[in-house]
């Protein structure tokens, strides 16, 4: 039992020593056997027959027990002064434990034992009072080991060893009790009493000083009351008078021996003690040499002997005497002894006293103890020696702890009862009482009892925790500094333990800090000493071996640091920090062996940067952390230093100053490097939170980007879908799939490197160094090199990692593996920010945020790492986490543009010019290209397409735009003509036609290529897709606007025109080409061409497939009208009633125009005639004196209704002529120069001949109107108007004749109009001019 325990005053301490060669396990086994005897009944103690030794022997049939406690260590020599004051602290008996099998070893064991005892105890010390050595026989051999004095051999074959050991112990106790009598005998003598009163802490006088009792018939015993219990009043008279009478003598003798307060162990040094100090003391002693101290000692011995009755009597005597003498310390000690007696009695009684109602049974004890505490507190050691203060403080603290233990034991045992007594007398504080552990095996880390459990105990006992703590608080004070380190540590440990059990964890931590301080003091001090000696003893060889003085110090040696106990100290440190809300183990150790196979896969939810609410008291936390690190440095345990520093950084960096952060970081990195240098196998796991903010794959450059195409595309190679309008083949105006189709998985190419951009974050004020950063991927293998980098302080830092996929397939980038220098690597997963994932995170954050700031759990239960344990409503739904994925396609060929025929990628064209571009491609990969496809884009396409999709255009405009897009592209490429294969390293030349299109500024040639017909395994299903790559070649286009056409007109031939045209010589060649046979069938196409450019152009128009053409030179800045005869034509009815077509497969958009059906008919008619006209007329231009040529477009021109009338050949034609019949019946035309003018004679009968020709295939019923003006000079027969012609079949004619005569000279105009009855419009028309002379 620990000397600090409550019952220690009543315990006989027995020292157990291993003797001779004995195995540790054996020693422990036998020691355990012996230790199991915690008490021995008085009845079992063999009595000693000798009378003078029987004083403390139990009486026959005495009830009660002797309590034993065992220890393995003796007290330090400095405590020797206390041998009389507190005998229970000292080992009163010694038991040597030896094991032996050979008989000859017995003697050596005996000698070893005696030497050991001699060494253990100082010479001249009063204790031990008894000794014995147990030799446990080994093996089964029945050798007679013989008997040796002082040795007890316990044969191995003995059955019930325990019983025997018990007997032996009882014998030992008997010896001890007998020796008590001897000691008291010595003290009872007047000289002895003087010694006893000589100093505050007296010692037993050495035997040499003791006068031998000359006559045995005057034993000291006679001076004492033979039966103390007989009278409550001690007989003071005799001893006191006896003493007084003898005072002078011992004083003289005493001066000779001069026992000082110093250690009495060295008598030869006593001479050096100052004589005057002993004089001073003696002067004081003389007055107070009462028997109080002696009585107190008697009480002590009786208490140890288990005779509580006698003890209490003697204690009371002592108190009565000491009270008067102001001997506070002895008084207090007596009170302490007295206080214990009721507990011992109660324990022995084995039954609980019924409380008498008013007073709690322990109140008396408590009062005595508090009195004792008070007395100790007030006591001042007479001498100002350090040890005096030390002892007073020591006893004061112990008294306080004793009182505290009493209260605590009763409290924890739910009141006055066996459990409490057991705690007080047997178990001490080492064992948690069952009331607080709820039956669970107790340990330091076991869960503390709840508040409710504490309160229940308080209610049951009436002792509050506060009361216990108040009593305990007295122990803590500056006086602790007087104590030696061992004592201080044990006092503080006890204090902390009690605070801890009471649930005062902060106080416990506070005290533990001081414990730690003491321990470290000792560690550092001892290290200094040993360190010094090491250097002195440094030699070539093993430490401790004397190599002789000559061979000193050429090689320094370094002993292995003993790390024993370091773990416990660190555990203590961690516990203190935990109480203050700092988790020093926030960063765990990883072992070196497990890396990196057993990578601790960081859960997604591990420590997402949820804003952690800071807990605790920042001012204290930082100080505590600094202390913790200092402790770890002092041990030294470098990995722990690093762990602590980094944990603190991780958890506290929000409240830390910059300097502290720097300091901690530097400490950690230094410690890590030191640990590594010393070969420590532990690694610190990665510490600085989630460093990866985002991971992105950089898209491949466009040239390398593979595009996925379905294989079916290859089969319909000869489709006619105009590529420009491909985008519009979609039958839906809004197609939601089109949006998603664009965001497919990212494609990467096997064996072609790609870049990943990782954004890292450093929330600290120092630059964070990462020794390796690599990608964590699943799926296909990639080749990548870890990166070492430094993330600047307080910033986000993007890093690019290059990786090379080795095979094709699916690649998933889960996150990053990060390693800090000297630490273990750790994987951080970064899920893709899908809406699901974001919602999940959001929910988590809100749960956290909701709990932040709520003080549902207060105090230490609110520590960050405790909180998740309390949380019951956890969002548990596990969403499947998506990571960044990309598809690796198999190797692809790569083309590049070797050269082009353009300079600087620019082409200059005239409007409508046709030219060509040559592009040379080179295959720079090892794979052939077997598919080549060109698509084009230019700057006019997008606006046109947009205009089309907006749908605001009229049908006619739509057609024009579409026609422009389809039939007049900037680039054209004839797929059939060019080679589409390129083996590795080969070149291909592509020729792309180029057309000058006005308003075009740029164009792009996209060359898609692929290697699609790969050889593949037969067993594999052919892939459904193939991948193309695209080369884009942008071309800068400049189109000059130089010729513009306007003023398109269609004119009818009139007879006059023919005439005048013949006179006109200026028209040159035009005039000839205008000659036509039948003017009725022809019309004149006329257009003005203006040259807005700086050079002349030759313009040619061809009509009707080169049957007629007109060429004109258009000088710069001038306008030339070009005339061209054009055969009139007529389109069939079916053709012109067709609706205006759309050229694309675009969805039909309801026309916005609200034209009437009539107007629509007209529009369609115009449209179709215009199309036909533009088809027939082809304009082209040529640079004069140059090679450049091109088309001249008439599409800007409009066709009007009058033009249409001219252009359209009529259905019915009326041909008029004037005839005369002369002689024969054949009519002859009179004097006609051509078909339209006649010269009949005056006043003669002629016939006006009208032939109505139906040119169409339909039949008409017609009526003819004729008019002649001036009509008054013409005589005719019949009527001129409303002449019925009748039905005329298609392609036939009918004639009608009117005889008439012109009665005046001059010019007559004759017109004839055929019309369908009931219709206003004329169907056919004829006109002639008649000149009469």
């Amino acid at each position: 039992m620990d000397p600090l325990d409550f019952g220690s005053l009543a315990h006989i301490r027995i020292l157990l020593l291993p003797v001779g060669p004995i195995k540790r396990s054996d020693f422990e086994k036998w020691a355990y056997e012996i230790r199991s005897f915690e008490n021995i009944r008085l009845g079992d103690i063999p009595a000693d027959a000798r009378e003078e030794r029987a004083r403390f022997m139990p009486g026959p049939l005495a009830s009660g027990h002797i309590h034993l406690s065992f220890s393995y260590h003796s007290l330090p020599p400095s405590h020797a002064l206390l041998s009389l004051f507190r005998p229970s602290d000292f080992p009163l008996g010694v038991i040597g434990i030896a094991s032996c099998s050979e008989s000859h070893a017995m003697s050596s064991i005996q000698s070893q034992f005696s030497t050991l005892v001699k060494n253990t105890f100082q010479e001249g010390s009063a204790y031990p009072l008894a000794r014995n050595c147990f030799v446990f026989e080994e093996g089964e051999n029945d050798a007679n080991l013989g008997t040796h004095a002082g040795l007890v051999v316990i044969p191995g074959m003995m059955g019930n060893k325990k019983l025997y050991v018990g007997t032996l112990l009882a014998e030992l106790c008997s010896n001890i009790l007998a020796e008590f009598a001897t000691v008291i005998q010595a003290l009872e003598s007047p000289l002895g009493n003087e010694y006893l009163n000589a100093a505050l802490f007296p010692v037993l006088p050495p035997a040499s000083d003791m006068p031998k009792p000359i006559d045995n018939d005057i034993p000291m015993r006679s001076s004492l009351p033979p039966l103390p219990h007989q009278s409550s009043q001690p007989e003071l008279g005799t001893p006191v008078s006896l003493l007084r009478s003898k005072i002078p003598t011992p004083l003289i003798t005493k001066r000779n021996s001069s026992i000082g307060p110093g250690p009495p162990t060295s008598p030869y040094r006593q001479a050096s003690l100052p004589v005057q100090s002993s004089k001073k003391k003696l002067a004081t002693i003389g007055a107070v040499s009462s028997h109080g101290r002696l009585f107190k000692m008697l009480g002590d011995f009786f208490l140890l002997a288990g005779r509580t009755m006698d003890a209490s009597v003697w204690y009371n005597e002592a108190i009565a005497m000491l009270k008067g003498s102001q001997d506070n310390i002895w008084h207090a000690s007596a009170l302490e002894g007295l206080a214990i007696i009721p507990i011992l009695d109660a324990w022995s009684a084995e039954k609980t006293d019924i409380v008498d109602g008013e007073k709690e049974p322990w109140s008396d004890t408590g009062t005595k103890l508090s009195q004792a505490i008070d007395l100790y507190y007030r006591a001042t050691p007479p001498s100002d020696t350090e040890s005096g203060y030390a002892f007073v403080s020591w006893f004061y603290s112990r008294a306080v702890l004793r009182y505290t233990t009493l209260l605590y034991a009763i409290w924890s045992a739910k009141g006055w009862g066996q459990l409490a007594f057991a705690t007080l007398l047997n178990t001490g504080l080492g064992v948690f009482p069952p009331t607080l552990t709820n039956g669970a095996p107790s340990s330091q880390n076991a869960k503390r009892s709840s508040y409710g459990a504490f309160e229940r105990l308080t209610v049951a006992t009436g002792i509050t925790r506060g009361l216990i703590a108040d009593v305990l608080a007295q122990v803590h004070g500056p006086w602790l500094l007087h104590l030696g380190p061992n004592e201080r540590i044990s006092i503080l440990e006890h204090t902390a333990a009690i605070y801890g059990i009471l649930g005062y964890q902060r106080k416990e931590a506070y005290i533990l800090r001081e414990v730690l301080g003491c321990i470290l003091d000792m560690i550092v001090c001892s290290r200094d000493e040993t360190g010094g000696s090491r250097i002195a003893g440094a030699g070539l060889g093993i430490q401790g071996v004397d190599m002789g003085g000559t061979s000193q110090g050429s090689v320094g040696i370094r002993a292995n640091d003993s790390t024993e106990g370091n773990d416990s100290i660190l555990k203590l440190v961690k516990y203190i920090c935990q109480v203050h809300g700092v988790d020093l183990e926030a960063i765990k150790f990883g072992s070196a062996s497990g890396r990196p196979a057993s990578l601790p896969s960081q859960g997604i939810d591990g420590d997402l940067d949820v804003p952690q609410e800071p807990f605790g008291w920042p001012e204290l936390q930082i100080g505590i952390v600094r202390e913790a690190i200092a402790v770890a440095e002092a041990l030294p345990d470098y990995p722990s230093v690093a762990q602590f520093s980094l944990s603190a950084l991780k958890t506290l960096h929000l409240v830390m100053s910059q300097g502290d952060q720097h300091h901690l970081f530097n400490t950690a990195s230094k410690a890590l490097s030191t640990a590594k240098r010393r070969g420590d196998s532990r690694y610190i796991e990665y510490w600085s939170g989630q460093p990866v903010v985002s991971i992105e794959i950089l898209p491949l450059p466009l040239v390398r980007l593979p595009l996925e195409k379905p294989m079916s595309l290859l089969s319909r190679e000869d489709d006619n879908v105009p590529p420009v309008l491909v985008g519009m083949t979609d039958p839906f105006l809004y197609n939601p799939r089109r949006l998603t189709a664009g965001q497919g998985v990212m494609l990467l190419v096997q064996k072609e490197a790609f870049d990943v951009v990782i954004t890292l974050r450093n929330p600290f004020v120092f630059d964070l160094e990462l020794s390796s950063l690599s990608l964590s991927t699943t799926g296909v293998a990639i080749e990548t090199k870890p990166l070492a980098l430094i993330v600047p302080a307080n910033s986000f830092h993007p890093v690019t990692i290059t990786a090379l996929p080795l095979e094709s397939g699916q690649l998933t980038i889960r996150g990053c593996v990060v390693q800090a220098p000297g630490g273990a690597s750790k994987e951080f997963l970064l899920p893709l920010a899908t809406p699901d994932e974001e919602a999940r995170q959001e929910r988590r954050h809100s749960t956290m945020a909701c709990e932040n700031g709520r003080s549902k759990y207060f105090g230490l239960e609110a520590r960050p790492w405790e909180r998740p344990n309390h949380r019951t409503s956890v969002y548990t739904q596990k969403a499947d986490i998506k990571f960044l994925q990309c598809k690796i396609v198999s190797e692809q060929p790569l083309l590049r543009i070797r050269r082009t025929s353009l300079t600087h990628g620019a082409v200059m064209l005239y409007n409508g010019e046709k030219s060509s571009i040559r592009i040379t491609l080179e295959n720079v990969s090892a794979l052939p290209v077997d598919f080549l496809h060109l698509t084009f884009d230019d700057s006019t396409v997008a606006p046109a397409q947009q205009a089309l999709t907006e749908g605001e255009l009229s049908v006619f405009e739509t057609y024009e735009t579409e026609y422009d897009l389809i039939h007049r592209p900037l680039f054209v490429w004839d797929k059939k003509k060019s080679r589409q294969l390129a083996g590795p390293g080969e070149k291909v030349v592509l020729t792309v036609g180029c057309f000058g299109k006005l308003d075009c500024t740029s164009g792009t040639i996209h060359i898609s290529y692929a290697y699609c017909h790969r050889s593949q395994n037969h067993l594999e299903t052919p892939p459904e897709v193939f991948h193309t790559r695209q080369l884009s070649y942008p071309v800068l286009v400049t189109v000059y606007h130089m010729l513009e056409c306007h003023g398109l007109d269609i004119l009818p031939y009139t007879p006059d025109m023919i005439r005048y045209a013949g006179d006109d010589n200026k028209a040159g060649h035009t005039q000839t080409s205008l000659q036509v046979e039948n003017i009725e069938d022809w019309c004149i196409f006329s257009v003005e061409v203006r040259n807005t450019y700086g050079i002349p152009f030759e313009v040619t128009f061809e009509a009707d497939h080169r049957t007629s053409s007109a060429t004109a030179l258009v000088p710069p800045g001038s306008t030339t009208r070009v005339l061209l005869p054009l055969r009139r034509f007529r389109l069939s009815e079916e053709q012109i009633t067709q609706p205006i077509p759309t050229l694309s497969d675009r969805q039909f958009v309801v026309a916005k125009s609200n034209l009437s059906s009539q107007e629509e008919l007209v529009q369609r008619e115009l449209f179709w005639y215009r199309e036909e006209l533009l088809d027939r007329i082809r304009g082209s231009w040529k640079e004069t004196g140059g090679m450049r040529h091109g088309d001249l477009s008439l599409r800007q021109q409009r066709l009007t209704l009058p033009m249409l009338d001219v252009l359209q050949s009529e259905d019915i034609r009326v041909q008029l002529s004037v005839h005369s019949y002369s002689g024969d019946e054949n009519p002859a035309a009179v004097g006609s120069s051509n078909a339209s003018s006649f010269f009949p004679p005056l006043d003669e009968f002629v016939y006006l001949h009208a032939e109505v020709v139906n040119l169409s295939s339909k039949q008409f019923t017609l009526v003819l109107d004729m008019s002649i003006s001036p009509s008054e000079h013409v005589l005719y027969e019949g009527v001129l108007s409303g002449i019925p012609i009748g039905r005329i079949e298609g392609r036939s004619s009918r004639k009608y004749e009117i005889p008439l005569t012109f009665v005046a000279c001059g010019r007559f105009d004759v017109t004839a109009t055929a019309y369908i009855p009931g219709q206003k419009n004329s169907a056919g028309h004829g006109q002639i001019t008649v000149f009469v002379e």
Binding site: F454, A469, R506, Y510, E613, E619, L620, A849, G859
Partner: protein, 159 residues
């Protein structure tokens, strides 16, 4: 106010056990840390007292003498769970609870008036969604008013 009362230190602790302000009225700097520890360790006792008070449904703010070491430590908890801890120098004379309560009341008033400052909220960190950050702000070094008020109380109480 009896003249023998001597106030050594005042501590304000937030409901989440964060220190708001620790004010010592002695000169030496080392003492400040000591009172930090005193305030911190007294939370043990305060927790016990609060639990006891909760059990008996008591609404008393004054928690009484917490413990005595080399100073006498008293505790007080405002209805909003801000704890006020004061350390009085040990004297031989009897200290009446009424005097201590008077000190606490005035300290509470000082705190209340400081926390009523609307600008405190302005200066609270944006990312903290907890109220106590604002409370802790009140003891921040840039808010002098609170310190001054506590000083005044301390002077009146004989610091």
């Amino acid at each position: 106010m009896p003249p023998q009362l001597r106030l050594n230190a005042v501590a304000f602790v937030s409901p989440q056990n964060h220190p708001i302000l620790i004010k010592t009225f002695s000169q030496s700097r080392q003492d400040e840390l000591k009172y930090h520890y005193i305030a911190h360790t007294s939370l043990d006792v305060i927790e016990e007292r609060i639990s006891a008070a909760n059990a008996t449904k008591s609404t008393e703010c004054y928690l009484g003498l917490l413990y005595v070491e080399d100073v006498a430590v008293y505790g007080y908890m405002t209805p909003l769970k801000v704890k006020i801890i004061i350390a009085l120098e040990l004297t031989d004379s009897v200290i009446r609870d009424a005097d201590v309560v008077a000190i606490f009341k005035s300290l509470h008033t000082a705190y209340r008036r400081s926390i009523a400052n609307p600008f405190l909220r302005l200066n609270a960190p944006v990312d903290s969604n907890t109220d106590h950050a604002i409370l802790v702000n009140a003891g921040h070094s840039q808010w002098k008013a609170f310190r001054k008020r506590v000083d005044d109380v301390g002077r009146a109480a004989g610091a």
